[in-house]
Symmetry: C2
Subunit: 232 residues, 2 copies
DNA sequence: CGTACTTTTGAATCGCATCAAATCTGGTGG
DNA sequence: CCACCAGATTTGATGCGATTCAAAAGTACG
């Protein structure tokens, strides 16, 4: 906010490096899209290491790179007037801010939630690859479509008026068979649900007391009548 | 909900027709993507007329067509347990449920909010066109990216805790220069903001009384101090 | 062991949802 | 033209649930 716009943090702090050829199979296994990268794009990729809390880019920065997370978690966040922080995306093993490919500048900040390994691809090379490699182009559309569905589900969840409703909706849409294992502290989950952490703690407590929910460490399971009306 | 799954309403009520060749230039002017449709896809398109309230498809229906709205408005909605209705998308001059192209069935209902004219394209032909026509493929990605950005903005808005905050956010992100003209009744707008219509009416009233907002029919304009902290 | 963070509980408050009802609006048909 | 209707708009009263502020207890890490 103060002074001149600063470059992305990793330009200052880390020397980007050529990704190890040996790592590609591992990455591609976790992220099928990476298996479809044309050689030219692969060659243009850079590997970055981010420390927890480190900033990948700021809102307003020019979009020069497209990033994908191969280890750890990067969050796309916006800061409201008043200091509140909204999490728009949590990227784990996937691309960050896919839509920025079409944009001149970023509209959000991207911050490493934990120690991360990230691949960065120059936008012009990425665009060129979409133009030439059909399979890659189709896979990229799949990526965008998935993000659209995820965001629609989140909007639907945020429209629910009660905390318990949002918790159930999250477990039903993000989990499997009425259970979900959280990959983040509850405080962060509360922000994703559009709740204060106090409200979330109290809600989880109440749902357990009422026998609606079973909590085992980071795994939450819906029990009893609530499952009956689960999505078909 | 009752009985056998019903086909999309227009299969029952209307005979789809070949779109008039003379209409394409008009449609393409409003929707640049339509100018890029390959001839084969154009030929496969059907023109539909929907009455207000008519259903284009239901959640659970098999995805056989991709639809774009050339006149009127189609809403993508989901119904919560308890009868509450959440609007996921309002399509005016654009595609409905873009992400359904990748899906076997629809996840939401699509309902005409007013009298509509809709073009329907068979999914297989649409997919084939994406594979062969590069410019069309790129334009479709732009469409998906726009939807991602719109949805992120909506999530951000729904995370705001106060009604006034959501109203201001809407005007700033959907309007121009601190003003927006609504294309829907306020009751529907309230649902889009995740509020009851009563809360919205009261909030608008209070904001006018406090001099934060000027309302002229369907045009809302932010006045005074609130504009000072508007987005750069 | 101390620091920083999350987790947890408590009390008070505020804002929105809810229920209820009156008014206004645009359209239909007599 | 007016009666009438369905819908949106508007106002009121009430209660609930989440926020807010505060603080204690637990936990990870150096």
């Amino acid at each position: 906010m103060l002074g001149a716009p600063e470059p992305a943090a990793y330009d200052r702090d880390h020397m980007p490096s050529r990704p190890e050829a040996a790592d590609w199979p591992r990455w591609a296994a976790a992220q099928p899209l990476l298996a479809l990268l044309p050689p030219a794009l692969r060659a243009a990729g850079q590997s970055l290491t981010l420390a927890p809390g480190e900033v990948l880019f700021h809102a307003g920065d020019a979009v020069k790179k497209i990033h994908t997370v191969v280890r750890g978690e990067v969050r796309l966040v916006r800061h409201e007037a008043g200091g509140a922080e909204v999490v728009l995306q949590r990227a784990r093993g996937g691309f960050v801010a896919e839509a920025s490919l079409e944009s001149r500048t970023y509209h959000c900040d991207a911050v490493a939630a934990e120690a991360c390994e990230v691949l960065a691809f120059p936008v012009p090379v990425f665009r060129a690859a979409l133009e030439t490699e059909l399979a890659f182009c189709r896979a990229w559309q799949g990526e965008l479509s998935r993000e659209v569905r995820r965001l629609r589900a989140q909007c639907e969840r945020l429209c629910l008026k009660t905390a318990a409703g949002r918790v159930l909706h999250y477990i039903e849409s993000e989990g499997r068979h009425g259970a979900v294992t959280l990959s983040q502290p509850r405080k962060a989950w509360a922000a994703e649900l559009g709740l204060t952490h106090e409200a979330l703690y109290r809600t989880l407590r109440r749902m357990q007391d009422e026998g609606l929910l079973r909590v085992d460490a980071d795994t939450l399971r819906i029990v009893g009548p609530a499952r009956a009306r689960g999505r078909g």
